[in-house]
């Protein structure tokens, strides 16, 4: 089988249902859809650069550090205060004997988002710097696997709900961490959006 976006190949496999679709050159902005399931097989996006994705991923990685280090909120009841981090939820659940739930939170809230950004950063840098770095194809597969697990935006919503809930019982205050979580979700969404798979495959193909 040839690469999915090898511009010279006659047939492309649909990324969804794997039906063969006839390849043709597209004018800018046009797209090729699978005749069987209707999913987009190829698009002439008109993007020429992966630098936006690279920039968002770099910013995101820095913000990820801040989002994990800064406290998210403080909660006060009758003079006693308590603040939290993303990781303190994980350790607390583990301490209470809910190890698997803690592992799920740790993976979807910390590990997967960071790895996802790091993988985008790695591929985008390789493409932008035109370097033949090792294991690029494996990392590209990793990005697709991790994308549904990058749940920082969901975490941001959960933070808002938590603040609303706690507000009924005591005094809650936002801390810098909450803002960083919001910025981190924007960064990862933008990086994923700007990370054009076809452009990446084309660039990687050219580096071979």
């Amino acid at each position: 089988m040839t690469s999915r976006t090898d511009p010279s190949s006659l047939w492309l496999a649909c990324p969804e249902c794997e039906a063969p679709c006839r390849n043709r050159a597209l004018p800018a902005g046009a797209e090729l859809r699978c005749t069987r399931c209707g999913v987009r097989v190829k698009i002439a996006s008109g993007r020429h650069s992966l630098q936006p994705a690279w920039a968002f991923a770099t910013a995101g990685l820095f913000v990820a550090i801040l989002a994990n280090v800064e406290p998210i909120m403080t909660f006060e009841v009758a003079g006693d205060t308590q603040s939290n981090h993303i990781v303190s939820g994980v350790t607390e659940l583990a301490r209470q004997g809910y190890g698997p739930v803690a592992a799920l939170v740790c993976f979807a809230g910390i590990i997967a988002p960071t790895l996802h950004l790091a993988a985008i950063w790695y591929i985008a840098s390789a493409c932008c710097l035109r370097r033949r770095w090792p294991a690029v194809h494996r990392v590209a597969v990793l990005i697709e696997m991790l994308e549904p697990w990058n749940l920082v935006p969901v975490y941001a919503i959960a933070t808002v709900v938590a603040v609303v809930k706690l507000d009924m019982m005591g005094t809650v205050d936002w801390k810098a961490g909450a803002l960083w979580i919001l910025v981190l979700s924007l960064c990862s969404l933008s990086a994923a959006q700007a990370f054009d798979r076809e452009l990446v495959e084309e660039r990687l193909e050219a580096l071979k």
Partner: protein, 166 residues
């Protein structure tokens, strides 16, 4: 892994998910004790509490994300798996699978919420949040439906009983 094994794994995961959906919604997810009053909260109880305090948009988000989405996901997956091999409605099944895939992760809201509340609610007798077994079942339902969607590849929708590929 053969496609038959994939199908069987996916079916097993969906059935497990449906079974666990019951305790996930009946058992309390957490106990909140604030200044003496101890209050066990189920997922639906948490939604009700938000609604009662007049925050209905918030209640709607949590209700959709943690009750409607997991339920719809399990129902859609069962239907897709039940229809496996039949040469009808394949395009609809394909679209449905994509929708389910993209909204599926929103049910994580409740798990994250539990983690955040457990972390801040450590003020001894004044305010304590304890995780309860419901949270475990809820997370298990989530993982089961995710695994089922992972095992059943979208291309398998297009297989018919007459031409099974190994």
């Amino acid at each position: 892994m053969t496609d038959t094994a994939r199908l069987q794994w996916a079916q097993a995961m969906v059935v497990t998910g449906i079974v666990l959906y019951v305790p996930a919604n009946v058992l309390p997810v957490m106990t909140m004790s604030i200044v003496g009053t101890v209050e066990p909260l189920t997922v639906l109880g948490g939604v009700e509490e938000l609604y009662d305090s007049g925050l209905w948009p918030m209640a709607a988000v949590v209700f959709l994300a943690s009750i409607v989405v997991p339920f719809l996901k399990l129902v859609s997956l069962s239907w897709i798996l039940f229809m496996h091999g039949k040469p009808v409605l394949q395009r609809q099944r394909s679209t449905l699978r994509r929708i389910v895939h993209s909204i599926g992760s929103w049910s994580m809201v409740d798990v994250f919420l539990l983690a955040i509340l457990a972390a801040v609610g450590q003020l001894g007798a004044l305010a304590g949040v304890k995780a309860e077994p419901g949270g475990f079942f809820f997370a298990a339902v989530l993982v089961c439906s995710l695994m089922a969607a992972e095992f059943y590849k979208p291309r398998m929708i297009w297989q018919t009983n007459s031409e099974q590929t190994p």
